[in-house]
Symmetry: C2
Subunit: 351 residues, 2 copies
Amino acid sequence: MAGGSGTRFWPRSREGRSKQFLAIFDKKSLLQTTVSRFSSFIDVNRIFIVAKADQVETIIPHVRKVSKEQLIYEPTGKNTAPCIGLAVVHIYHRDKEAIVAVTPSDHLIKKGSLFRKTMEAAFQLAAKKDGLITIGIPPNRPATGYGYIQVDAEIDVINGVHAFGVRTFAEKPNLATAERFLKSGDFYWNSGIFVFKASVFLKTLEEHLPDLYDGLGKISEAIGKPEYDEVLQKVYSQIHAISIDYGVLEKAKNVYVVKGSFEWSDLGSWEQVYKLSPKDGAGNVMVGDALAVDSRNSYVHSSDGVVALLGLDDVIVVQENGATLVCKRDRAEDVKKVVNHLKKNQYHRYL
Amino acid sequence: MAGGSGTRFWPRSREGRSKQFLAIFDKKSLLQTTVSRFSSFIDVNRIFIVAKADQVETIIPHVRKVSKEQLIYEPTGKNTAPCIGLAVVHIYHRDKEAIVAVTPSDHLIKKGSLFRKTMEAAFQLAAKKDGLITIGIPPNRPATGYGYIQVDAEIDVINGVHAFGVRTFAEKPNLATAERFLKSGDFYWNSGIFVFKASVFLKTLEEHLPDLYDGLGKISEAIGKPEYDEVLQKVYSQIHAISIDYGVLEKAKNVYVVKGSFEWSDLGSWEQVYKLSPKDGAGNVMVGDALAVDSRNSYVHSSDGVVALLGLDDVIVVQENGATLVCKRDRAEDVKKVVNHLKKNQYHRYL
C-alpha cells in the first residue's frame, strides 16, 4: 500500500510527496526500502503496489524493479479495506491459490532476518488455517499512537515464531490505558501487516462488507477488458471509505496474531524519527549540512543549505525546498497545526 | 565610515556583505538610511564615504546619490583613526575651513528631528570651540557592550542641547560597573559620532599620533596626482591600526560631549534587532514568509522561503541564501561561535 498522503513530515512531505517517498534514514525512500525488504525473499514478479491514480508520476522512479503491470491504481483514496480488496482481486485473478501479504510502505522495520522469519511463519500459518493473520508487535513502551490487539491462547509455534488467537482489538489508548496494556503482556501493537489466502479474504469480505465485495466483483470481471477504467471509476465513486481493521478484522472470527520480534515503528512524527536515529555524543541527529553549537538532544535535517543550531536543546529543525520547520521536540505531533496555518495564511505554495 | 566587516549578523551578513549593507528594519540598508539621515540637512555633495578597496562593487548600489569622487577607499582596514584621518585629509584638501561630522554607517538611530537638532548644536559648538566633540547618549539600561564617557561640568546649551566637558573614558564595563554607570547619571554611551573642524582634528592627530599624521601628510600631497594610489598603498602598509578613541580622544584635552536624546543602538546582535523591532501580540517579530504557532517572544527572518515556528519561545531564526541560524535569544552574542564552527567544518561556502 503506497497510496497514503499526509503532512506529519512537513516540510519534507508535501502535497503529492508523502512519507513513503521520503528517504529518512538512508538514501532509499521508505517505499524503496519496503520493496527491497520483501524482494529479498519474494519474487519481485509477485510484488504488487497499490497507489492513487494521481501518484503515478511520483511512484514510478521509486519502484523501477516492479513492472508496470504490477502497479494498481485507485481512482481516489477510500481507506484500507477497498485498497486491499482491489489488490486482492487483481492477485486472485492471476492465481486462485495465492497467499497474500499486505504491508504499509511507510513504516520502519529493522532486523530484516527476524522480519523474514516472522513473515515466513505467517505464510505457513495462512496455508494451514483459513484465517486472516495480523503481525502483532510486543510493545516496549506505552505508545498512545498505535492500535492494540489483545491476544488469546497460543495456537501454534512455527520455527520459533508464536501465533495466537485474538481476544479483542483496541483503538489508540490514552496513556493510562497504554500503560495497563504494556503491563498486561498480552496486548500487542497492530502493525498493519496482514497475511491471508486471497480466497479467504474475499470470503470474509463477502460476509462483513458485502457492498464492497459486490463492487470488487464488478471490477474483477472487467480486468483486462477495455471497460476496466470506467468500471473502476464507477465502483469507487459508490463504495464507502472504511478501514480493514474496523470493517473486517474487528468483526471476523478467523483472525490470528503472529508475534513479530523485529523492530518496528509506523514513524508517526519527526520525534519518532529522532528517537529511532543513531545519535552523536551530544544526543543530536544531524542530517545534511548541519551543525550544533552548545545544543543537545536535537534533530536537524538540512536538504539544501546549512542549518546551525546555537544554544538550544530538544528541538527539531527540518529544512527542505524553501521551507523550514523549527519545533520543540514534544510538539512534533502538532506539525498539522503548522500546515493548517500555512493554508489559512495563503502560503499554499509551501504545502 | 562604511568599511566595517563582521559576522554578528550571520547568516544575513557574509564575507563581503557586512552589516551596513543589510536592510534590517525596512527596505533600505543601514548605509542607505545613514546617508538619508544626513542628506536631509547636509548637501549630498558634502557627504563622503570611506570604505575598503575590495568593497567598491558592493557599495556603489547603496550610495547612488553620492558621486564617485566622494567615495574614499582604504587599501586595508586599520581601525578608525587612519580611516577618519584619510577622510579628513581629503575634506581638508577641498576646504580648509570644513567642519566634519564622522559617523558609523551601521547603527540604528530613531527620531531623526532630535538627531538633526543634536548634530546642528554639535556643528555650532565645533565652530566656537577648537575641540573634538563626541555625541554621548544617556543610557537607559546597564549595557555592557558599549564604551562610556563620564561627563564633567556643563559648558554650553545650544538650542536646548547640552554640552559638557569630559572627565574620563571607560571601556566596555562588566554588568556591576554598567549598573553603577547607569545610576551615576553622568556616564553616557560613546556613540562613535564625532564633530570637529578638519584643521583641529589634524592638529590633534599631529600631537597624539605623529606617525599617522606624517603618513596622511604624504597622502594629502598626492591627492589628484598620478602617484596617489601608490603613496596610499605605501603609507597604509606602514601605519599602525588604532582606534580614534584609544589613539586620540582618550589622550586629547580638547574633547567635549554633546548630549544626544535621540534613540540610538549600535545593533550589536540579532537580540538587539529583536528588542528594537515592533512586535505582534505574542511578542514575535516576523519578517518575510514566517509564522509562529504557539510560540512567543521570538524573532524570525525568512529571506527566501517560509519558516514555521512551533511551540518554541525566545528564539531567533534567520534564514537567508541557503543558510539558517536557529538560536536561543540569550545566545545571540555567540553567533561568532557558529561562524568559527562553519570554518572548522569546511563549510566556507556559507561564510
